[in-house]
C-alpha cells in the first residue's frame, strides 16, 4: 500500500516491542459489539484508474477556459501567472503545518508577513491578518469585531446597518454568524451613503459593499463620515482587484475592511478554497480575530517572524477568545502573496484598467442592443467590472440558449431574487477578449430575436 510504510515484518517487530499479540488487540478499549464494522465503500483503485475516473468527472463540468466567460457574482475568472502555481505547490509550503515552531517555519511566516504588508497597502489599512475562510466569513467576523470593539455586549449598541445590495450569500452568512448574538441586522435597500445616514445611537457598525453586488460604486467616504458621526464603525467589503486602480476602502474612511481575495491568484475551484481578507486600523488590532504575524529578533539580533498577539485566540483564551477560528487559508494566502508580488505596483493597476475598460466597452455595446438596457449607464452610476443588464426576455432563458454556443453571459438575478426575471449580472475581466465581448453582444441580440 503506497501510503503505509510498515511491512508485515515491521509490524511483527513493532508488536513484539509493544508486547502485544496482534494489531486487533490494540483496539480492545473499543466496544466489541461495534468494533471493525464492514464499511460499504467502493473498492480501491490504482493511481492510474483513479486519475481516469477523475478526468472523466472533471469533463462533466463546464470550464471557464473553454467558453466566453462573463459570469462573476462572487467568484471571478482572472489571470493567474505561472509562477503562482509553480511556487505555491512546493512541498515545503504545501505540507507544512501552522507555524507554531517559528525557527522551522520562517518560510511560511515571512510569506504571511509579506502578504499582510501588501494586502494592507492594497486595502488601505494598517493591519491585515493571515486570512479567513472567504470574503463572506471575513465580513461576518469583521462585523463581530466591530461589535466587540464597540463594547456593545455591555452597552446599548446592538444594531448593524447593512446595505441590502450585498451578495445574497454574504447576507445569509451574516445572519448565520450573528444568530447567537444579541445583534439586530437592519438591511436597507439604499446606497452606502444613504444607508449610513440612518446610523443612530444604537448602531455599532454600517456594512457597505465596494462595489455592490450589482456592481455599482457608492460614496464610501460619505458613508464613513455619517457612520462616524453617529459613533459607529464603517465595515466595508471590497474587490481587491479594483483596489489596484481605485481608492482603497481604508483611504475612504472604512475602519474594518473585508475582501474576497480569490481573484488574487486563486482559481475559482467551484467556490473554494477562497481567501477571506480582513484588515483594520491599528487601534482595533487587539479585537481582530485570526492569526497575525509580527517581526521579532533572536538573541543574536537576527530578524525573524512569529505568530503574535495570540492572547486573542482560541488556543489561549478558549471560550473568551474573539473567535473560534483556528486555521487560516494558508495556501490561498500564499498564492495571493505571490500574485501580488508578481503583479506588483504596475501590474495590479494594469489588470484593473483592463477590467474597467473592457467592462465599459461591453456595457456600451449591450446598451445599444434593441430591447436591452444597462441602468448603470443611463443613471450615470460608476461601476468597475460588473453591471446589471435589463433583458427583453427572461435572463435565465438567455443563459440557457447561449451556453450551448459557448457563451456564458452572466448571472440571471432570478436565481437569488425570483421576481427579478429580466436582469442579468454581467462580469468582464481582463480574460475577456474584444472578440469575446463582441460575440457576447451578438449572441444577446440573436437570443432576443
Amino acid at each position: 500500500m503506497p501510503y503505509i510504510a510498515a511491512t508485515d515484518r515491521d509490524r511483527k517487530a513493532m508488536l513484539e516491542r509493544i508486547g502485544s499479540g496482534s494489531v486487533e488487540e490494540l483496539f480492545s478499549d473499543i466496544p466489541a459489539s461495534v468494533r471493525f464494522p464492514k464499511l460499504k465503500l467502493p473498492p480501491p483503485l490504482s493511481e492510474m484508474e483513479a486519475m481516469r475516473e477523475i478526468e472523466a468527472l472533471a469533463s462533466k463540468n463546464l470550464s471557464a477556459s473553454s467558453s466566453a466567460w462573463f459570469l462573476g457574482a462572487g467568484a471571478y475568472y482572472h489571470f493567474i501567472p505561472a509562477v503562482v502555481d509553480a511556487l505555491s505547490s512546493r512541498g515545503e509550503f504545501l505540507t507544512a503545518y501552522t507555524p507554531y515552531q517559528p525557527e522551522v517555519s520562517q518560510g511560511t511566516l515571512q510569506a504571511i508577513f509579506e502578504y499582510q504588508s501588501m494586502a494592507a497597502a492594497l486595502l488601505g489599512v494598517e493591519v491585515v491578518n493571515a486570512s479567513h475562510y472567504d470574503g463572506a466569513t471575513a465580513l461576518a467576523e469583521g462585523l463581530l469585531m466591530a461589535y466587540n470593539a464597540a463594547g456593545a455586549a455591555a452597552g446599548a449598541r446592538d444594531k448593524a446597518i447593512v446595505c441590502a445590495d450585498l451578495d445574497p450569500e454574504y447576507k445569509d452568512v451574516l445572519r448565520s454568524y450573528v444568530s447567537a448574538f444579541p445583534i439586530r441586522l437592519e438591511f436597507l435597500d439604499l446606497p452606502p451613503e444613504a444607508a449610513a445616514a440612518r446610523s443612530d445611537e444604537s448602531t455599532f457598525c454600517v456594512v457597505v459593499p465596494y462595489p455592490s453586488f450589482s456592481g455599482t460604486l457608492g460614496d464610501i467616504a460619505a458613508a464613513a463620515a455619517s457612520a462616524h458621526a453617529a459613533g459607529a464603525l464603517l465595515v466595508a467589503h471590497a474587490d481587491p482587484i479594483m483596489c489596484g486602480l481605485l481608492k482603497s476602502p481604508g483611504e475612504l474612511g472604512a475602519d474594518i475592511v473585508a475582501a474576497e481575495g480569490q481573484a488574487l491568484g486563486n482559481p475559482m475551484s467551484f467556490g473554494g478554497p477562497f481567501l477571506g481578507m480582513l484588515g483594520s486600523s491599528a487601534k482595533l488590532v487587539r479585537k481582530m480575530p485570526g492569526r497575525l504575524v509580527g517581526e521579532a529578533r533572536d538573541s543574536q539580533g537576527r530578524r525573524g517572524f512569529v505568530l503574535t498577539l495570540t492572547a486573542r485566540e482560541q488556543h489561549i483564551r478558549r471560550e473568551k477568545a474573539v473567535s473560534n477560528i483556528c486555521s487560516n487559508q494558508g495556501l490561498a494566502m500564499l498564492r495571493a502573496c505571490i500574485y501580488l508580488t508578481a503583479m506588483g505596483r504596475s501590474g495590479m493597476r494594469k489588470v484593473a484598467e483592463l477590467c474597467w475598460s473592457k467592462a465599459h466597452y461591453a456595457a456600451g455595446l449591450i446598451a445599444a442592443l434593441p430591447g436591452y438596457a444597462v441602468p448603470a449607464l443611463t443613471s450615470r452610476q460608476e461601476f468597475f467590472k460588473e453591471f446589471v443588464v435589463l433583458t427583453p426576455i427572461p435572463a435565465a432563458e438567455i443563459a440557457q440558449k447561449l451556453a450551448r454556443r459557448g457563451v456564458v453571459p452572466g448571472f440571471p438575478l432570478s436565481r437569488y431574487y425570483p421576481e427579478r426575471t429580466h436582469e442579468l449580472l454581467v462580469c468582464v475581466t481582463e480574460m475577456c477578449t474584444k472578440g469575446q465581448i463582441e460575440l457576447l453582444a451578438r449572441s444577446l441580440e440573436e437570443a432576443a430575436e
Binding site: 503505509i4 464499511l39 515552531q101 511560511t108 499582510q116 460604486l217 467556490g271 533572536d298 494558508g330 505571490i338
Partner: protein, 483 residues
C-alpha cells in the same frame, strides 16, 4: 534548510521592474473619473527570476512533511499524496464556477455527493454536509445544529454546553460563538470524562439547561474513553445531545463508527484524517455528520440526487442553520479527500487506523522508560509524554533540540491538564526506521539533558534564526513592512 537571511519582497524591489507581461488593451481604453482613482500603490517591483528565487528560498526555510518527520500530536501530519494535487489541477476543477448551474457542474456535484455519503458511512451518520471550511467551522456548525434542535422543540433554556477539561480550545470558543455557556468537566484518573462529575452536573440544578456535551474520543491524551456509551446514555437521558470532535478520527476510521456509540453530531477534518495538505495553516475542510432527526438542520447547500439528465443537484436542508460560508465548502480540498478514499477502499482505510495506532504505541514503548507517560495505558493514534526529564530542562528545550536533530517537534504544552506535555502522533505514513530514529533522538536528548543541558537551552542552532523574542514582538507589534 536555507540558513541565509532572505530579504523581504519590498527590500528586493527596484523601480521599473516587472514580472508579469499583460496584454495590451484591445478595446477603446476608458478611465475612471480622477476623483475615484487612488495614488500610487505601494507594492514591490520584481523581475520574475528574483521572485522565483525569493519564494523558493523561503520554502527552504520550512520544515514540512515532504522533508521531515512531523509528529505533531492532534494534527495528523500524514503524507499528502501527490496524486491528489495532480487531480485538483485539472482545468475542469480549477475553472469550475460555483454558479454555473447544476447542469454544468455535474462533475463537482457527484464528487460532493459521493464524499458526503462515504463520510456518513465511515461515521455511521444519516446525513452530512461538506460546507464547513475547517474543523472549527465544523464545530460551529455542529453546536448551531444542537442549538437549533432544542429551539425547534421549544426547549429554549438549554444553553449550557459541557466540555471536558482536556478539550481543544476551539470547542469552548465555538460554543461562545453559538451562544452557549461552558461548563468544564474534569478528567478521571484514566484521562477520561469523570463520570461522577458528569452525573453530578446532569442531576444538579443546571441539568435541565444542558444542551449537550462535546466529546473528543480518542481524547487529547490519545486514550479511548471506554465510558463513551455510558456518557452518551447519561447525556441523552438528561435531554442533551452528544457532539463528537473528529480531530482524532485517524484512530477510528474502519475501526468504529462513532454514531454507533451514541454520537449525534460530529465533524471530521479532511486535512487531518483524509490526507489533504495543511498548507502552512490551511485551507482545511470540514464535514459535519448527524443522526437522521438532525438532518434538516445541516448547513447547506449540500449535494442531493437529482432526476434525469441532472443526476445531482444542490439542495438546502429544510430547517438549515443556514450558510456558514459562500458556496459549498472548500471544494478543492473535498476533491483531494475524494481521491484519497477512492484509492484506499474500505480495507485500506482500516489499515490507516491500524498502522497509525501501531506506530504510536511503538514509539511510546521505545521512550516510556525515559519519559513519563501520565496515563500508562494502550494509546490510540497518539500519546502524551512529559518533558520534565532533568532539573532545569523543559519541554520547550526538548522540542527545540529535536529541531537540531532533524525532526519537527511534537505538539507541546497541550493538553493543558498534563504538565510539560509532549504530544506525539506519528501517523501511519512513517516507516519503522523513521520511528526508530525519532525515538533514538528523544533518548539522546534525555541523556544530554543530564550531561550537557546547555545543548538543549541553546537549541535550535541549525535554523535560519534561533529562538525569537515573542514577548517583545507582542509588546510592540510590527505587523507590516515599514520603509
Amino acid at each position: 534548510m536555507n540558513l541565509r537571511p532572505e530579504s523581504l519582497v519590498y527590500e528586493l524591489s527596484s523601480p521599473g521592474r516587472e514580472c508579469v507581461s499583460l496584454p495590451a488593451c484591445d478595446v477603446p481604453p476608458a478611465r475612471p473619473p480622477a476623483g475615484l482613482m487612488r495614488d500610487a500603490l505601494e507594492l514591490p517591483e520584481l523581475d520574475e527570476l528574483t521572485l522565483v528565487r525569493h519564494f523558493t528560498r523561503l520554502s527552504q526555510k520550512n520544515y514540512s512533511i515532504d522533508t521531515e518527520f512531523y509528529p505533531l500530536g492532534s494534527c495528523t501530519m500524514k503524507y499528502n499524496p501527490k496524486v491528489n494535487e495532480a487531480a485538483a489541477s485539472l482545468p475542469g476543477w480549477r475553472n469550475a464556477h460555483p454558479l454555473a448551474g447544476d447542469e454544468f457542474s455535474q462533475g463537482s456535484l457527484e464528487i460532493i455527493h459521493s464524499l458526503q455519503s462515504w463520510l456518513c458511512e465511515i461515521g455511521g451518520f444519516a446525513a452530512g454536509s461538506l460546507q464547513p471550511a475547517a474543523g472549527a467551522h465544523g464545530e460551529l456548525s455542529g453546536v448551531l445544529i444542537i442549538r437549533a434542535y432544542h429551539e425547534a422543540r421549544a426547549d429554549h433554556k438549554r444553553r449550557l454546553m459541557l466540555v471536558p477539561d482536556s478539550a481543544h480550545g476551539t470547542n469552548p470558543a465555538s460554543c461562545t460563538m453559538a451562544g452557549f455557556r461552558i461548563k468544564a468537566i474534569a478528567s478521571d484518573s484514566e484521562g477520561g470524562v469523570d463520570m461522577a462529575a458528569l452525573r453530578e452536573v446532569l442531576s444538579g440544578p443546571e441539568g435541565a439547561q444542558v444542551a449537550g456535551i462535546m466529546i473528543t474520543n480518542p481524547n487529547t491524551l490519545g486514550l479511548f474513553d471506554r465510558n463513551i456509551e455510558a456518557i452518551a446514555a447519561a447525556v441523552h437521558a438528561a435531554g442533551g445531545l452528544v457532539y463528537g470532535d473528529g480531530a482524532n478520527m485517524n484512530a477510528l476510521v474502519g475501526i468504529l463508527r462513532p454514531a454507533e456509540v451514541g454520537i449525534d453530531v460530529m465533524h471530521f477534518n479532511l486535512h487531518k484524517t483524509f490526507s489533504t495538505p495543511h498548507g502552512g495553516g490551511g485551507p482545511g475542510a470540514g464535514f459535519v455528520g448527524v443522526r437522521s432527526d438532525l438532518a434538516d438542520f445541516l448547513p447547506g447547500p449540500i449535494a442531493a440526487k437529482g432526476e434525469g439528465k441532472i443526476a445531482y443537484r444542490l439542495s438546502m436542508p429544510a430547517r438549515s442553520i443556514g450558510r456558514l460560508k459562500s458556496f459549498y465548502g472548500n471544494f478543492g480540498i473535498v476533491l483531494r479527500a475524494y481521491v484519497y478514499l477512492r484509492m484506499l477502499g474500505p480495507e485500506g482505510l482500516r489499515a490507516v487506523a491500524e498502522n497509525a495506532v501501531l506506530g504510536a504505541n511503538y514509539v511510546k514503548a521505545l521512550i516510556e522508560g525515559t519519559y513519563k507517560v501520565k496515563y500508562p495505558r494502550r494509546c490510540m493514534h497518539e500519546f502524551v509524554a512529559q518533558g520534565d526529564i532533568a532539573e532545569g530542562v523543559h519541554t520547550l528545550d526538548i522540542a527545540k533540540r529535536l529541531i537540531d536533530l532533524g525532526f519537527h517537534p511534537p505538539t507541546i504544552y497541550f493538553p493543558l491538564i498534563v504538565p510539560e506535555a509532549i504530544m506525539i502522533e506519528p501517523t501511519e505514513s512513517e516507516s519503522k526506521e523513521t520511528l526508530d530514529a525519532f525515538a533514538a533522538a528523544l533518548l539522546k536528548i534525555a541523556e544530554e539533558a543530564k550531561e550537557s543541558p546547555e545543548l538543549l537551552h541553546a537549541a535550535p542552532t541549525t535554523t535560519p534564526v534561533g529562538r525569537l523574542d515573542e514577548v517583545a514582538a507582542a509588546r510592540n507589534p510590527v505587523l507590516c513592512y515599514r520603509r
